[in-house]
Amino acid sequence: MKRLFMFFVSCVVLFSAIAQKDFRTVTGTVVFAGDDEPLPGATVIPPDGIYGVITDVDGKFMINVANNVKVLRVSYVGMVTREVEITGEPLLVKMTNADNTLDEVVVTALGMKRERKGLGYAVQDLSAEDLNTDGTTSLASAMQGKLTGVDIRPSSGAPGASSQIVIRGARSFDGNNSPLYVVDGMPIESTADFDTGYSVTGANIADRSIDINPEDIESINVLKGQAASALYGIRASNGVIVITTKRGRFNSNRPLVTVSTNLSAERVSRKFNRQTVYAQGNGVNAYNPGSSMSWGPKIVDLPDDATYGGNGNGHPGMYYNPKRELAGLDGWSTPEIFDNVGDFFNTGFTENTNFNISQRTERANYSFSINNSYQKGIIPSTGMNRWSARGLVDWTVDRQWKVGFSGNYNSTKITSAPGANDGIMNVVYSAPAEYDLKGIPTHVPGDPTQQVLFRSTSFTNPYWWKDNNEYLQHTNRFFGNAYAEFTPDLGLGENYRLWFREQAGVDSYTSNYSDVREMGSTISLAGGEITNYGVSRNVFNNLFTANFTADWGDFSFDAMLGNEVNQDNSRIWEYYGSNFNFYGMPTIGNATNFSSSEYDRQKRTVGFFGSLGLSWKSMLYLTVTGRNDYVSSMPADNRSFFYPSVSLGWVFTELSALKGNNILSFGKLRASYAQVGQAGEYYENYYYVPSYGSGMYGYTPVSYPVKGVSAYVPYYAEFDPNLKPQNTENFELGADLRLFNNRLRLEYTFAYQNVTDQIFAVPTAGSSGYQYTITNAGKMRTTSHELTASIAILQHRDYDMNFGVNFTKVNNKVVELAEGVESIMLGGFVEPQVRAQAGNTYPNIYGTAFKRAENGQLLLADGLPQGTADSQDLGNCSPDFVTGITLSGRYKRLSLSTTWSWQQGGKMYHGTNMTMNYFGATKESLPYHEGTMVVEGIDEATGQPNQIEVSKQDYWMSYNDVTESGIYDTSFFKLRDLTLTYSLPKIMGVDVQVFGFARNVLLWAKLPNFDPESSQGNGNMGGYFERFSVPNTSSYGGGLKFTF
């Protein structure tokens, strides 16, 4: 690594002295074709150049170009980019308003530039302007609602919350389905350091895309299909997100400085409004100040309670709560209603500040930026603070050499809150309305380790939690690369070009995590515990390519050969301490029991690849690629895999009969085929040191060493020595149409994926002695339909209005699993779980269903609903379709843009709704607190219609005790983003933009009480399994941007 850097440095020194070539000056004016008014701010640049100029207020420009440059490219945001020949005269360039981006060159796999109109597969790109970066720190959130075929599922609105991004459905049952991220040509790690496992305990763990500052992005190109990404080989089966960071845009003799800041406030997007009529208790007849539930008497009737009422007991109008007394307050109080949910949530706060300085000169292009993002979560004590710095330089040394580097450093610190079984939301939501959760002290006076809570302290008082416990994530990361490009003069003229490119980069980070639970967190954690763990990771990536292009009139040809090496070294550690000596210092040093572990892992992937492209008359484009990868993490005989792709684009509007017509301005049909694989994580079978901590235990009661001795046992998963890579075969067909002078644009893609030889941990019968076998089994088949339509409704120099829709329908079907395996678990409890089940779409929810008679009626026992003894399929998670809608308009200096999302269908398990129903805490439970009823259904014992009368409470609890009752439709429609921007006239040479925005504000959802975009887990179950998760947020804010 060091050597390579030295090599680049010496290149820079060596060639900086090479003389400039001869230049000439070209002048001209750029105007808007509609009214011939000048266009200030248009970019003029030689097509292969890296430097250009912008037009002044009169639309005029002057540029120095090399003598051999024959044409200039003129571009203006929102208008057709034109190439004009240099004639020697001042040029007059007329720009048309029409967003025809077809002539653009797009960056495809491995940095290859290709004409967009010739691509045989779908790509979608987002420019900086398309991203909703205000009021968020997350790239995933900035992209939401903008892409077809890309499913973005945020886990919550918490600072640093993970998002699951899946392109065209999953390919792996239980493995990685996230796309590969490539930043400035270098692949970087984007998945979370630790997955949250079955996601039933602990806090969410951020995914590493959090280290990408959305404000640094110039453009994102999403390579969705395998044909687009096949050149990236084994890592690319999930698609690739190619990110280009910002660099100097305009040729100028002084730097361009941009300072921007935006601030926003966050609220819970949908606050749980619980019932405020009935008090704490297990039944309406008696108040019970220790119960977890709200089935007690009416709050207004508390003073009449036989045991705790004050009426007739010397405390008229009051009731007694022993928890108040325990906390040092008067036990007697008058019934009151408290908004415990509203009290607990803060108003969150997000700040993003960016400073950027960039410049493009004739030879060099540099950009430097610093960013700070600061967030305070709606849950007290949660937040995030991210600092990042970035610099890049591209330097055209001479006609043959070009060198550059790009480096990103950032430090991300996140404090988060736990969900599910460790959740504090459970306590907040279930707190009885008459209990002053905020006001009653959290502990016994003088002893902070003795918690006071309305219910059993097997759960933690959320206010005590805020003061004492912590889930901390802290990452320091550097990623970047340096490159050199050499274009030897072949002496064959302009039609032949050969160049070599060598790029070396690193992605290096250390993440430290600390899960701190102070003394007295729960009964079973009376002594407290701390887990400090982390990962240190160093990925080195070297890419070498040789490229050749040739132009033979009607035919063009290009070829590329290359080699890539990726070496990944990581070390994972964990230090655990428990039973602190004393309260107030929850550190490893203060613990009295310790255990620790370390783990290191190396992986190497070596790939050799090539690509050939041939085009004819700008009408037919054929591309063939192949890549062979060698992967260390597979068994010895199955390390080498070859992946081919072929794609064809036919621009049929180039046919003479169609050429130049005004109705169909452009039409293309495209088709592609590709195969890409995914490697597994293979080891030889081994022994490990077991411990005891699952199931009913709230902690780990036994861990080795025990009495000074340790133990080894066979690992519970078995590895198949014949493991081979899984394979994804992909066919894709599509059409791109532009109508009415490009005002209406339609893109449609149909993709078919056939995934075979899935690698996954096949759950095995416990009686086999193992719980999993890591092997190839199962098939998954995905079809996806993606449609993008956009209409320029109004087009004028002074105003415009654009409407866009992107529609995605993905059917991700699990065709078969391993023999005899009906379904596999992705996450959840013993019951319910998120699973992959043969014959269902991926994934589905699996749990106890209602026992039903043949006619579908509930089969009742003693008059009450009951669940089945086995777990069953309770619904498919993935939605029927997802639609993103954008509507934007501009009038002179004022512009408005909105992004909407509409998701139809899909199911999730919502444990919070279900449990709060069971607890009698929801408003939905109100009709069931008193009285009796006869439940409609069939009596299982007699087979006759039920006639047994039961209490309404028993019915409601029995009903909401069966998982099927907790399955909800996730259909929703929401306004994701609304941004209003006003560009002030230049003030003293400074451009000022003022903007206001609102995110995630209007929500119509089938799910009651909560925002469906909040759930447990950062893996494949993410988005589908909810239980006391941290809630989603809405944000409102504004900002300023200065450019000078």
């Binding site: 080699n563 519970y716 719980q771 013993v830 019951e831």
Partner: protein, 488 residues
């Protein structure tokens, strides 16, 4: 210039070295040992702990103790549903899944221990370790088949989808294996072998002590078969006496300290508070003026509720209300793999049933139980002599009641066997009082326990036996296991 590029290309290829050797080295796992490299004595440690902690002292016992009414299920969750005999909880294949998987996982470890002791293995010829492995094998499989009936056995730990074996056949093999273990351990003891040392956290590797346990286990197996084989009483006596002769003083796991290593019952209690004292036990204590009641039903929450009567709905739904035995707050309490009192009660019962004098064993059983209660509760319990005297000459009924009371400590799974065995024999010495045992016009008291979910989902043989949909698990309430009168 081109030369320089060639150098870069060569450098590139050098870095890219990807020969099999290099790749194999990169993929080496430095952090875990290979199976062949681990001496079996390191495996014995967890084989012992897991047998006690997961198999005999885990969820099987926690749930079953509600069925036997030796504890009361409370806390408004799983054990409340168990106490109320809600079928969804009782019959769900998920209920015992952790213990099912854990026990078979432990059996895989035990199997590899035994294999390593055979010819060609790392521990070839170490008959002490092989004998220990066989005893643990029998203990684990005994529980599985006792509570589940027919289970995967002959193909288990080999096939991915093992078939079910008949309980009758499994018991035959277990008896054969325990006899084999006795021989191995005898030989090891005679030869003064001790290959485990302190890796054996039960007996410090002493084969003589393991021999005592092997005979005790054999005695229990024989006792369990008495409904099917009346001559088994005599065989049980022979084995139990051999255990005593070998110096058997109980197989108690005493690794716990209550600080960073907790008894499973205490850990479970502190994690959940699902276990209360049961009125059925309290009544039996009261009838006998038994001092052990003072440590059994203790008002730990200061609610005035020291125990609850079996099936009490309000108390089952209450949280942190019902009192519980003192030892559930003692994380350092011993966990029984096989208590001394049980061995004495086996002898007493077998002798009483065969017309022999059971007095000495009856008394020894009670004394062992008093000691155990006192030690686990860290208090003194006086008056055992007077108590024994007041009981008079032992009857079969009183022997079974005393065994029931002794096993309320932490050996409820064996009580569950005894209750079912006597039901099969048409006798009843412990009257179960939970009114939820019948409900909705049918039996709600499980005659056996549900298979682990992993097999119900991934092993068609078990799935078929378990049933699906509305029928899933219904047989648990209608069909006894073979030992106790059923046929599967």
């Amino acid at each position: 210039m081109l030369k320089k590029l060639l150098y870069i290309a060569v450098l590139g290829l050098a870095v890219t070295s990807c020969s099999e050797d290099v790749m194999n080295k990169i993929n080496e796992d430095h952090n875990h040992p290979q199976p062949g490299a681990v001496n079996a004595r390191f495996q014995v440690t967890d084989a012992v702990i897991s047998t006690a902690y997961t198999t005999w002292g885990g969820a099987y016992a926690w749930y079953v103790s509600s069925y036997t009414e030796q504890t009361f299920g409370t806390g408004n969750n799983q054990l409340m549903k168990t106490e109320l005999r809600q079928r969804t909880e009782t019959a769900a294949s998920t209920t015992y899944n952790n213990e099912w998987n854990g026990t078979y996982g432990n059996l895989m470890n035990i199997k590899q221990i035994i294999e390593k002791c055979q010819e060609g293995g790392l521990n070839a010829g170490q008959s002490d370790i092989e004998g220990i492995g066989q005893v643990l094998w029998v203990l684990c499989y005994e529980l599985l088949t006792d509570v589940h009936g027919d289970i995967p056995y002959s193909e288990a730990l080999v096939s991915k989808q093992p078939k079910l074996d008949k309980q009758e056949d499994i018991y035959k093999d277990l008896l054969k294996r325990i006899t084999d273990a006795e021989a191995k351990l005898q030989a090891a003891a005679d030869a003064g072998e001790n290959n485990c040392g302190n890796q054996d956290v039960l007996y410090g590797g002493d084969p003589a002590k393991w021999l005592g346990l092997a005979y005790a286990v054999e005695a229990r197996l024989q006792l369990n078969t008495t409904f099917r084989d009346n001559s088994a009483y005599a065989k049980a006596i022979t084995a139990a006496e051999a255990a005593i002769a070998a110096g058997f003083a109980g197989a108690d796991l005493s690794i716990f300290n209550g600080v960073d290593c907790d008894n499973s019952w205490a850990a479970y209690n502190w994690s959940r508070y699902y276990t209360g004292a049961n009125g059925t036990v309290v009544d039996l204590f009261a009838e006998r003026n038994d001092p052990r009641n003072d440590v059994y039903a203790v008002d730990e929450f200061d609610t005035g509720v020291a125990y609850a009567n079996a099936g009490d709905e309000a108390m089952a739904k209450a949280t942190e209300t019902v009192g519980y035995p003192l030892w559930l707050d003692n994380g350092a309490a011993k966990l029984h793999i096989f208590s001394l009192s049980e061995l004495h009660f086996i002898l007493a019962e077998a002798k009483a049933k065969t017309g022999a004098d059971a007095t000495a064993d009856f008394e020894a059983g009670i004394r062992a139980s008093f000691d155990d209660y006192a030690e686990a509760s860290t208090v003194d319990i006086d008056g055992v002599d007077a108590y024994i005297e007041a009981l008079g000459a032992p009857t079969v009924k009183e022997i079974m009641v005393q065994k029931y009371l002794a096993q309320a400590r932490d050996e409820q799974v064996q009580t569950y066997n005894d209750i079912r065995r006597y039901k099969a024999m048409g006798e009843e010495y412990i009257t179960l009082k939970n009114s939820n045992n019948t409900g909705a016009g049918q039996n709600q008291w499980p005659l056996r326990l549900a298979y682990g979910n992993s097999d119900v989902v991934s092993n068609p043989n078990v799935a078929e036996a378990f049933g699906t949909g509305n029928d899933a698990g219904n047989y648990l309430f209608t069909e006894n296991v073979w030992l106790f009168g059923g046929n599967r």
